[in-house]
Symmetry: C2
Subunit: 233 residues, 2 copies
Amino acid sequence: MKSSLKRPSEEECDLSGFQLFKKLKEQEFIHLNYDKTCSLYKKGSIIYREGSRLTGFYCVTRGILKIYKTGIDGKEQIIRFAKKGEIVAYRSLLSQELACTTAKVIEEAVLCHIPYQTLLFLIQNNWEFSHHMLQIVCKELREANDYITDIAQKTVRERLAEVLILLKESFDLDTTNTLQISLTREELANIVGTATESVIRLLSEFKQDKMIELQGRKIKLLDVNALTKVANL
Amino acid sequence: MKSSLKRPSEEECDLSGFQLFKKLKEQEFIHLNYDKTCSLYKKGSIIYREGSRLTGFYCVTRGILKIYKTGIDGKEQIIRFAKKGEIVAYRSLLSQELACTTAKVIEEAVLCHIPYQTLLFLIQNNWEFSHHMLQIVCKELREANDYITDIAQKTVRERLAEVLILLKESFDLDTTNTLQISLTREELANIVGTATESVIRLLSEFKQDKMIELQGRKIKLLDVNALTKVANL
DNA sequence: CGAACTGTTGAGAGGCTTCAAGCCTAGTGG
DNA sequence: CCACTAGGCTTGAAGCCTCTCAACAGTTCG
């Protein structure tokens, strides 16, 4: 699948909403906007692949990406998602390593590419930017550590319930309490770290227990309290 | 268990070997040394507990700590170890959150406490310090992501073999190929994310297969290649 | 010297995975 | 816009890996 190179509108490339750039001086923000390159990417586009060399990081101004690692036998492990207001590819870039994850569009997205030089310029000239950057990485590290504990100690059933709740918190529900992110059963399995069939069976059980309702990929959360209990939170 | 407050020698508190401080200006390094507080901690001492408020971070100049989270039913999940030249407690400090891990001494240690104010001072005044700090967090995040993939996809047998290899890389072997870190079977289980009994059984199997040799807590690696193969690396 | 902790082994249960087969949905191409 | 087809979804059966419980040996330390 190829990435679309269609230009998104000026408005869709606006970075002023990003918390990370809030403390930039006017001149720095102009510099940033001058250096950025924004593109529209269709569902299925690969933004960067594990092992590739990165030239900058990306700001998501629209859509959703999944960030995953390829493990045993090519089985993918989803590390996180990235949505509007979040940045991707910065970890490998800061470490000056080859990308250790792959980023794929799962909902049509607009991304702004910021060159490495610009990142370095901001780090060198604005300590508040560095500080903010540190806080972003630290937050992600905390989440990763939490997830290690969960995945190591909880059953698949508990983890699946927890993932549903985490998805609810990240992507919200619509008016009918339906998760606003559409994932395949396999993708759910690749977050939880289990087999696709196990996810299917457990979702059916949750449905029987009246905690959720299923309509294709749409998952409606009927009883978040019960789910929280199952998740052992 | 209480922490010892015995003062270590001046020499044992030397921070000039830390990569993180390499780029400090002379004045900043003097400032750092003025602000630091070094102590000797006996095996079993708790440096900080999950949920406690941190006043600074610690530089390890001697000994080994284990950093762990308390999960279901109080079962501990070891996130990482910290040895000479490494820093701990910086993640929660930078995020200005309560500690989300506990740090415990497993081999008599000397730690230097650096107050939050000093950390902030360095971030504000020395971009190379911030940059280095970013790289440290990024490295840890990478390791955490790698571990999520392993723990989600590999069998306990594979993970245990991998952990032995990782321990070898972090703590080296002595002249008889014996791991230079002493862990209980339970601690090994708490890294791998399994039951103590499973670790015991698998270690016996590795021994039968002539990959390792056991003498109490001493583990001698006889065939690293075979272990690597088992680990599926 | 005993208490408390650590290590070991066995048995049994059950959660999950794997394989296989068939159905269905979603997205493509005509 | 619709038909088609590949990939996604579902269910069942079999079996293994791992956990839990339990009993006991060994070790360490006060």
